[in-house]
């Protein structure tokens, strides 16, 4: 991590342009059944690949050679080989997979099955289903702590965070948070978990050691009705400096100081911003904007939105490879 941090400092010192690293971004288009592939150097879509029905959550294998795709309406997780850009395999996922998270061991995939109120754990190598864990109504967000100890699931209609012990695959704690929790993100050191509540309009900051809430963030944007402030995706810089929170139909991304939890700025992006991803050196933040069907590109150093790139219909998830 230190390396990445140094690299980004270096990039800045050199007058920046991280984009010279030519990261490739993958965006799932929920209503186009496709993945858009973006070159972040030229800021253009270089290819659009047809995938399973209603692709939502996507994530990369730890070695960045494979892309896992939740094909929600096909009730499966597809695996795309990033070299050939072909779907090479599928995993048993349980019904309606929406989001998932990969354990640091690169094998256990924790999948939220939205229609079935369960979390399915699949070994991506053996394809065995290791466990199915009953959770609240409409499980959505999934995250695994960096040390691999906890898998956290958010259940939207139960408004809970379920803390699953990854050794026993049992729930150790249920936390009631704001209405409709959508997403959980761990800090790089694993000490803090950030959880967004879409209808509650809040982000809950949780001490992972004690599993107690430290504070709750509220957002207020001038000229935007409070009901439209609906936090969804969260992305943290690895240096612990910033947290970015996608605010849904408020059409803004909040920039939060990850140390003091002070809200520094709101950046105007496309309509109904859902998920976020940083590129490898963390110079760029990409946002998926569901309603406007585009990706906004944010220059992290200057906290400015620099470009929007048209992708498919209802872009949902986004990841960036080095």
């Amino acid at each position: 991590m230190e390396k990445i941090f140094c690299a980004s400092i270096l990039a800045v010192l050199l007058g920046f342009s991280a984009s010279s690293l030519a990261n490739i971004a993958y965006v799932s288009n929920e209503k186009d059944d496709s993945i858009s592939i973006l070159d972040t150097e030229t800021m253009q879509v270089i290819e659009t690949i047809a995938v399973g029905k209603r692709p939502r959550g996507i994530l990369l294998s730890k070695d960045h050679t494979k892309l896992y795709i939740c094909a929600s309406d096909d009730d499966t997780v597809q695996i795309m080989d990033l070299e050939t850009r072909r779907i090479i395999d599928t995993l048993p996922s349980g019904e309606d997979p929406e989001q998932f998270a990969l354990h640091p061991n690169d094998r256990w995939l924790f999948i939220a099955n939205e229609d079935d109120a369960i979390v399915t754990v699949v070994d991506v190598q053996s394809k065995d289903v290791l466990a199915q864990i009953d959770v609240g109504v409409e499980p959505e967000g999934m995250a695994v702590s960096p040390d691999g100890r906890w898998a956290v699931n958010t259940s939207e209609t139960s408004s809970m965070l379920h803390w699953i012990d990854t050794e026993s695959f049992e729930i150790k704690k249920n936390m009631v948070v704001g209405q409709r929790p959508r997403h959980v993100e761990f800090s790089q050191d694993g000490k803090i978990a950030w959880a967004s509540a879409e209808i509650g309009g809040t982000v809950h900051i949780i001490d992972v050691e004690t599993l107690e809430e430290i504070t709750t963030l509220d957002f207020a944007i001038r000229g935007v009705h409070q009901d439209k402030v609906q936090p969804v995706g969260i992305e943290l810089t690895s240096d612990g400096r910033y947290a970015f929170v996608a605010l849904g139909p408020a059409n803004h991304v909040a920039v939060v100081d990850a140390q003091t939890y002070e809200i520094l700025d709101y950046l105007l992006v496309g309509r109904r911003v859902w998920q976020l991803a940083l590129n490898e050196d963390e110079s760029l933040l990409l946002t998926t904007n569901g309603v406007s069907g585009d990706v906004s590109v944010i220059d992290v150093e200057n906290l400015k939105v620099t470009k929007s790139i048209e992708v498919g219909r209802y872009p949902w998830g986004v990841v960036v490879t080095p």
């Binding site: 309606d96 109504v137 139960s158 249920n174 936390m175 009631v176 209405q179 509650g200």
Partner: protein, 390 residues
Amino acid sequence: MRIIPKALMATLFACFLSAPLTALGMDIRIGYIQWTPDQGPVLSNVIPEPEDTGLRGAELAIEDNNTTGGFLGHHYLLESRIAKSEEQAQEVLESMMRQGIELFILRVPAPTLKTMADKTAGKALVFNAGAKEDELRLGGCQPHVLHTQPSYAMLTDGLAQWLNQRRWKTLFMITGPTDSDRAWADAFRRSATRFGLNIVADKPWTFDADLRRTASQELPLFTQANDYDAVVVADTRGDFGEYVPFNTWLPRPVVGTQGMSPVAWHRVVESWGAAQLQNRFRELAGRDMNGDDYAAWAAIRSLGTAVTQLDVANAERIRDFLFSEDFQLAAFKGRKLSYRPWNGQLRQPIPLVHPRGLVSTTPIEGFLHPITDLDSLGFDEAESECRINS
């Protein structure tokens, strides 16, 4: 009933609680009573209304609540009854009250609801998931009666906002003969004034066999007028209204209870996670979810949201919580929902739909309101005599 601030404060601590799966149990018993008078014969009887309308929404909400409750030791039980007569409905209510139930969802006509509201005053918390009559929200409100069913005025205001935005302001209106047709039409006339629409023809539907013609033959002549932008139909039963689209004298769209309609819920609503709710409902009921199902669902989910936060099932405490700042209902309409403090009406966006698609969701951006634009739908505080929280 009065707000108890101390108790409320104490409950805020419960907002961050944990409980093992085997926690001490708490039963939350909810009564659901439905009585729908016979609607009489209708011309367009091709797609009959499901008999379990409303009830299935209640059942789904109980399932949703129990999934959540499983982690907190809360167990929700639904006592439901579809009554065959008004008397039977009243008897069921009395018997459920004798059994100690103090949370009720009622899908009954307005006059029945009034009697039931009197019977339950001070003894229960009641949700109206059936009657849309505006008069229930304008006067004689009772502190223990909440409405999850949108009123006629909320529906017609949504439609009128849209017509205004489209600049389809000159309207031809047809009203059916029943009380609910007239109530819908009255609501629309008020909406028309409110949003600058002009009803150039306002005709009652009097079609009878004397004309010796089918409705589709009769309608072109019936809708003759100089000009209009759209035809507005008030036919709540679906008697003749289905025959109005494409049978108008002028080639104009049809809106109202048929054509494009303002509704509480419809199968074509899918944004904001609604697809998941629709899937769960279809799995449970084997049919699509409608507005009455949604009203019952929203009522029981309100109760579930309160009990999850409060960790008590007491009607008075729940009622106080539902009117507090801490209550917000996540109900798949794109924003948090709350109850109007003056009359207990659930504020909610109103989708405008046609049978196979969503046209728009109201309130439409630009229709402003000093408190919340959701209050641009329906009678506002100043227009209502009700003050159930003061």
